[in-house]
């Protein structure tokens, strides 16, 4: 009986509203963190609310911030960077849930494979310092952006 109910629930499960909720929640958390950073900079520390982000992955960005713990503008930088990281992770979370849905609820393995390719590519891009397409990349970039 329990299994029958589970199958019935899964067959009626509507994925799209959940994806919408993930995107909305992610954006609201991100904006909330950025607003906190901005408010602290304007009202408490009276420091510059912004700085240039230079990192090759999200963990590297947050790790660099944590190393600055104790400095006067720590919370301003950390909250802004955390908000930015949540902004980037939000569409990625949508892809993770889509992959789970297509693979484990709908059993549409072909589409789950497509989604897993995206997850791997973006996962390497966002969470590791590994350069996906080496060679051209950084010498050419340095030339272009230092013009």
């Amino acid at each position: 009986m329990k299994d029958v109910n589970r199958v019935r629930w899964l067959s009626k499960f509507d994925m799209e509203p959940l994806l919408g909720f993930i995107l909305t929640a992610g954006m609201l958390i991100s904006i909330g963190l950025m607003a906190s950073s901005w408010a602290i900079a304007q009202l408490i520390t009276r420091t510059n609310p912004g700085d240039k982000i230079r990192a090759s992955s999200i963990p590297q960005l947050l790790q660099a911030d944590l190393h600055r713990f104790g400095s006067p503008d720590f919370w301003v930088r950390f909250l802004a960077d955390l908000g930015f990281s949540v902004l980037l992770i939000t569409p990625y979370s949508r892809l993770v849930v889509t992959w789970l849905y297509l693979g484990f609820i709908k059993h549409r393995w072909r589409y789950a494979v497509y989604a897993s390719i995206i997850l791997v590519l973006l996962g390497i891009d966002l969470f590791s310092d590994f350069v996906l397409v080496p060679g051209f990349n950084y010498p050419a970039l340095q030339r272009f952006f230092s013009r």
């Binding site: 919408g20 950073s37 609310p49 912004g50």
Partner: protein, 277 residues
């Protein structure tokens, strides 16, 4: 640049972007550069704003089952591969030529789109073949403006995949999510209904922009100073734009999209001639 002005510019960009399934670059980049922001920094901010627009505008579409998730997963796979390659090649290709080329492509596509919408250029229907056999590009949605359920099936999957990879490549090279090209490929090449093409573009452009953003993070071009007013403005504008799109008739959406397409094509040619000489 004043907070209020940046917020307003982002709100307009978010509104136009969500209404037409494109990023906010058409509005945001010229305003930022007009106020003295470096063009490369403006492009980096545009890439981030595309991710914000996509995340803000998609939920109302998802609730009404407008984008086709299976088709999105299928197309995103190729688009993101293209975006990662494009991002890696940034600097190796002349932006001057690329902007001019894209500007002409947008204007010519606009003309083709106008003819197709008038029923003069609909292509033949082809089933998925070879490696893509079994990939279903069909779906349905309830059009609240017309009060009817629309059943559709995409066509030319192989050509669509090649074009989508190209869209990703261009998005990675130029920055942003390639929203305008996504709509053109989904509508003109693959034959999806306008609302489905626009909403799939809105959903996909966020992940495509994410693929190309690494370059701007690596080179320190994203400034957190701009992020808060821009995301806040985008939130307001995209929220309104997405709601309006859902309730507008397809005919009206097409008209607005063609106007935006023409403006964007001209802006790209102008950028190619003046900004990236």
């Amino acid at each position: 640049m004043p907070f209020g002005l940046l917020f307003l510019a982002a709100a307009v960009a978010g509104f136009v972007g969500a209404l037409d399934g494109i990023g906010g670059g058409l509005v945001l980049t010229p305003i930022l550069t007009a106020f003295g922001v470096d063009i490369r920094e403006a492009i980096a901010i545009n890439s981030v704003s595309v991710i914000a627009i996509s995340s803000i505008a998609s939920p109302p579409f998802l609730r009404h089952h407008l984008p086709n998730l299976k088709v999105c997963a299928f197309l995103e796979c190729f688009a993101i591969s293209g975006a990662l390659l494009g991002a890696a090649l940034t600097g190796a290709v002349s932006r001057h030529t690329l902007f001019l080329f894209c500007g002409f492509v947008v204007l010519v596509s606009g003309l083709a789109l106008w003819k197709t919408w008038r029923g003069e250029g609909s292509g033949p229907f082809l089933k998925s073949e070879g490696l893509l056999k079994g990939t279903i590009l069909a779906g349905s949605y309830y059009d609240s403006a017309d009060g009817k359920t629309v059943i559709y099936e995409g066509k030319r999957p192989v050509l669509g995949v090649v074009c989508i990879f190209g869209v990703g490549l261009i998005a990675g090279l130029l920055g942003g999510g390639g929203g305008i090209f996504l709509v053109l490929v989904a509508d003109l090449v693959m034959g999806f209904p306008t609302k489905v093409a626009l909403t799939m573009s809105t959903l996909m452009m966020g992940t495509i922009a994410l693929g190309g953003l690494d370059v701007y993070l690596e080179t320190g071009l994203v400034n957190t100073k701009w992020l808060f007013p821009i995301t806040l403005g985008m939130l307001m504008g995209a929220f309104l734009g997405a709601r309006l799109l859902r309730d507008l008739k397809s005919q009206a959406i097409r008209g607005i999209f063609l106007c935006v397409l023409t403006l964007l094509g001209l802006e790209m040619i102008w950028s190619g001639v003046h900004v990236f000489r």
